[in-house]
Symmetry: C2
Subunit: 227 residues, 2 copies
DNA sequence: GTCAACTTTGTTGTAGACAATCTTGCAGTG
DNA sequence: CACTGCAAGATTGTCTACAACAAAGTTGAC
């Protein structure tokens, strides 16, 4: 995240700034709770303050950052309760997406899903949780794309952007990984069988299992230490 | 929508502008497709251009307005396809809300819902579709509040803000009104019975019926004239 | 030593000006 | 008559400067 040498094209400073900040949050370069001082962002991104300002407003609307009048913006920090709520909302919306995917997925979509599934299985065998998480992200992305449901896609994109902090915690729960893999298999099978009801049901079951795990993990860690 | 006499409090110009514009769209004072010239809004709202600008950015993020670089903003105009998608997303999310409402609704919430239901029945008898629509809006609002699911509430709020144009069209379909009333009754009954599954199912059935009606209405009108 | 009021510093909110870009109307040409 | 190119006006994007505010630090009285 450095100032670029050449000038940006007029009219794109704001969206550049928006995307760059969003990525920075998603990739963990900006952590929840961190202050976002406008002047600093201006230096880092090499854009005007107006662009930074409106980008922050958009990110607030999306739920990625919080702003208080005269006190600036910071990366939003979720409570466990909110994280669970977001997972529930995701379950509802990705259920819808899975239903549509079952009706509209192309053979190529299915090939892609199966390919990711194989990679996930390999990661599960090796215990490579980091790469597994990455595959998981791609899996859901491909499936939502395959649904061709732009509204659901937009909402899910914003929901996932808010979840950075809890993204990695659930897979690490003991015994969760093989189950997760199985749940993903069930989803692909239902989509491949062009069975909308089964697709939605399996997706919801999957994300509700994740929510349940998160609840469990949260309960345990809160007894030991506050992260 | 006139310039206010007294000065606005510092730090609230932007959110004032955001809310005012949002209301204007929801109440139909700004119609889909209409251009939103910054200088004009500045005059109307009595705030600085920066405030207008960031407010427009937020509204774009919410899907209420569209902006193109160097070409300004206009109130977003949905295609029927997008309207149907939004209703599908609403069905998924309000289904979730209904499920939670069945578990968390207080006696007062239920009294409010039943009161609205009675008013709706009266409107249906008299054929007062305008007031029926207003009751319908309140019904869904109360139910979402009763669910105590902030994430779903936020998402639904933004979805409803995008639907202005199609809000009134579905109730006007012949024979739809009595069915709509019955569907709402079923939802309240399920919530009152504290049956989450039934609550979710009846809400989804309701909104999917609305989506189906919209599809039907859209098909018919598109054969006659483009609205 | 403690607390309150004041000052300082860092940061945000707002206004105004200017330049880049788009749009529109018009003239000229094939 | 249709079409292209140009000029004027309108509108947006960006920059700079300054005022208002919050938080932290400092002084002074008790």
């Amino acid at each position: 995240m450095r100032a670029k040498g050449r000038r940006l094209q007029r009219g794109h400073g704001e969206s550049y700034c928006y995307q760059e900040l969003r990525r920075a949050v998603l990739e963990g370069r900006l952590v929840p709770g961190q202050r976002l001082v406008e002047a600093e962002l201006v230096r880092m991104l090499g854009v005007g303050r107006a662009a930074v300002r409106t980008a922050l407003a958009r990110l607030e609307q999306e739920g990625v950052v919080e702003r208080a009048p005269n006190r600036g913006a910071r990366v939003r920090l979720l409570t466990e309760q909110e994280a669970v709520e977001i997972l529930e909302a995701r379950a509802a919306l990705e259920g819808l997406a899975a239903r549509h995917a079952a009706q509209r997925a192309t053979p190529q979509d299915l090939r892609q899903l199966r390919s990711i599934l194989r990679e996930m299985a390999a990661c599960a065998r090796k215990g490579d949780t980091f790469r597994y998480t990455e595959c998981n992200r791609r899996f859901h992305e491909v499936l939502v794309t395959a649904s061709r449901h732009l509204t659901a896609a937009r909402l899910l994109d914003s929901l996932r952007a808010q979840m950075v902090r809890y993204q990695y915690r659930t897979v690490l729960a003991p015994g969760r990984l093989p189950r997760s893999l199985q749940e993903h298999r069930a989803i692909v099978d239902a989509v491949a069988a062009k069975d909308p009801d089964a697709a939605e049901a399996s997706m919801r079951a999957h994300l509700e299992a994740v929510a349940a795990t998160l609840r469990e993990v949260a309960r345990q860690t809160s007894e030991v230490a506050i992260p």
